[in-house]
Subunit: 213 residues, 2 copies
Amino acid sequence: MHQPDGRRRDADRTRREILDVATQEFANRGYDGTRVDAIAERTRTTKRMIYYYFSSKRQLYVAVLERSYAQIREVEAGLNLDHLPPAEAIRRLAEITFDHHEASPDFIRLVSIENIHRGKHIGQLESLAALNSPAIQLVEQILKRGRADGAFREDVDAIDVHLAISAYCFFRIANRYTFTAIFGRDPVDPDRRDHYRRQLGDMIVSHLLVGSR
Amino acid sequence: MHQPDGRRRDADRTRREILDVATQEFANRGYDGTRVDAIAERTRTTKRMIYYYFSSKRQLYVAVLERSYAQIREVEAGLNLDHLPPAEAIRRLAEITFDHHEASPDFIRLVSIENIHRGKHIGQLESLAALNSPAIQLVEQILKRGRADGAFREDVDAIDVHLAISAYCFFRIANRYTFTAIFGRDPVDPDRRDHYRRQLGDMIVSHLLVGSR
DNA sequence: TAGCGTATGTACGAACTAGTACGTTATTAG
DNA sequence: CTAATAACGTACTAGTTCGTACATACGCTA
């Protein structure tokens, strides 16, 4: 009836546990650095189950990637900044993005890793339809309002702004180690966190305001 | 007297050729994805020579990293923007940084890879003294002049500015593949190159100018 | 409760990969 | 010219790693 360890058979749970561990392993060691045996050992099941559910190391990695992106997208979809005036809304969005990046280092590592592989896995995921990213829609709404006010410049679009915000947030986390080694200042130092967050907000807002250059 | 292929024995050249090939291989495949045999095959020499000159795969990787950083630093050290007024100088520096990143995708990949490994190799290189990076000194000079003018804000220092500039330039190249997959727009599209470059310049300058927020 | 498909465990193998033992040839100092 | 040393090549090994053949147990359904 039960497993020796008191655990029932549970396909969903086994699958999820494998994905959880695999996410950490891939994020920490990269695709080639990850050992399927190492994932199995950290799971309450065996390597056999990894192949039972995911068929191959590669497909496991793709599943990890897909789930990670889906989770991020879910969070983004829950945001609403319509109640704030445009300049404040975009600053708030930048700050939220900043916080999300700091809270998701594993996701950031996975993205870096996938780019090292030239996006050859993420390209296969049609679940990430390029068009309706909630993050972009959010920026679009804010830009629209800001332009209607006459406050925002017209020559940058939502994807441009999203790129600028993401770049700052992503770089700070992703390149933490080399940056610290070279410049002797850890960009993730909690004491400087607020300063960086304000700098990003200032930068994005001042850039968007008409006549600021 | 000569090798069968007409090539003399030449330690420096062999060393350099190994480093050249290894740089490409490590940049393209990551540390764990790189095969020492693959490097050897692309060289006019054999795997034995890699171990003769570099002792191990790891030390070869460290040598690649060290040389790559030294090359970048060399370029930076040759810059001088004293002839431009502060706002123009910082814009010009941003543009030059932008161009360098676009021209050095292998270096960017190596940096990403090293960060995946949490900087454990670059940390050992004391050749990269944290203090006197030419890039930082350059920003420092410009900021100093801009503040003397009363034109630049006082609450961001050279490393902060360098972070903001690098983040934008680095992200655009490093995350090209996932960005394209998700947002359907390649940030390295040559047709949009000037637009991105101007956006970066505008952003940095407007951020630095007093009273711009 | 019988039976069948889903879920799980064990043990193994074929291929790969970093590193080396051993031998050879070129170059140069004296 | 000759000896010594630096530069180079071949063939191999020990250990690792993805993946699987084979065996078994659980639990739902009829």
